[in-house]
Symmetry: C2
């Protein structure tokens, strides 16, 4: 068998992108090599840089280029409140509501047995260590109201209450089955205000 050409390798490598099949990978290759080589070069460079330089904040677990992210270092945030979200995009939604002044922990996922993601894969030890730093008084669970987000919230609630922490869940103002990222800010703000003991 002949070694695959660079073009075939590139078509193959593009399949790493969500939703890209062989046909659209082919189209993307032509687009990149024929129409926008400069943009393509920038993409290759930025992606390589991000892979080496972007890591996880040792406190909140979100993506950052620093050891500890700016938000975690800010003296303006209330260290007594810790809001747990699934993804950085959920954190961004919470911030946009301007309803919250505490700190965050980003799970970078959710418990999802079908995808083989359990408590171990989510590295929940790290959340536990973070939540029991002696300053955190309340952990606010802001995972999505999907089945997986709810299961995650239940698991986290039990785990954190067992350590004597006060735990709350944002109110089910977010539609059942809905995701924070696709909910209007007002609803998310209200859901935060109406959080209940968990």
């Amino acid at each position: 068998m002949m070694p695959a050409s660079l073009l075939d390798q590139l078509v193959d490598a593009l399949r790493v992108l969500p939703g890209v099949g062989p046909k659209s990978a082919q189209r993307i290759v032509y687009q990149l090599l024929q129409r926008d080589r400069e943009g393509a070069a920038k993409l290759a460079r930025t992606l390589a840089d991000a892979l080496t330089q972007v890591k996880h904040c040792t406190r909140c677990n979100t993506f950052t280029e620093a050891e500890i992210c700016e938000r975690c270092l800010s003296p303006q945030r209330d260290p007594a409140q810790l809001c747990v979200v699934e993804m950085p995009s959920d954190l961004a939604v919470m911030e946009s509501t301007q309803a919250y002044r505490g700190l965050y922990y980003v799970l970078m996922g959710r418990i999802s047995p079908l995808d083989g993601v359990g408590p171990r894969e989510l590295q929940l030890d790290q959340l536990l260590a973070r939540a029991t730093d002696g300053l955190v008084e309340e952990v606010i669970l802001a995972t999505n109201f999907t089945n997986e987000g709810e299961a995650t919230a239940h698991y986290l609630g039990e785990m954190l209450r067992a350590r004597g922490l006060r735990v709350s869940r944002i109110a089910r103002g977010v539609p059942v089955g809905g995701e924070l990222e696709h909910t209007d800010l007002g609803t998310v703000a209200q859901a935060f205000a109406e959080r209940r003991g968990w």
Copy 2:
């Protein structure tokens, strides 16, 4: 203003991909950095390699890593026939029909005034030089049957006939408005067999 973070730069760089907006770029970033760093690294590497090593065949203009591609060098192909297609994917469709044993010229586009692509942008001089090599007896126009593909075929027909070349056009078996890439092979093969003087 703060310099954009590497993550923001990567979200921005991903916009070079066709159909990728800010939201899906964000999703792709999480997918790449969180779920498949190995695949992402391979993508960055392969894309950079392709950009430096993939060029155009000096004879048929398709993508290749060599000066002249394998097909153009093959003694098995009939040098008296030259089939002109818009894109490498169209060439692949023609080859799949196994109805053609001549050589190709790939325009890497089509005449499209709305996109600012005219004869000059398509570098048709190169096609003209290729078609007048003394060996080519017939040029078969296999551009798409879209408005732009038809306009391109008309232009090429006049240009090539003016040089005394015999020009044919694959038959309109391909549905009007249709593209080769989305046509079944039988129809494409028939369209080839029924090509007519142009």
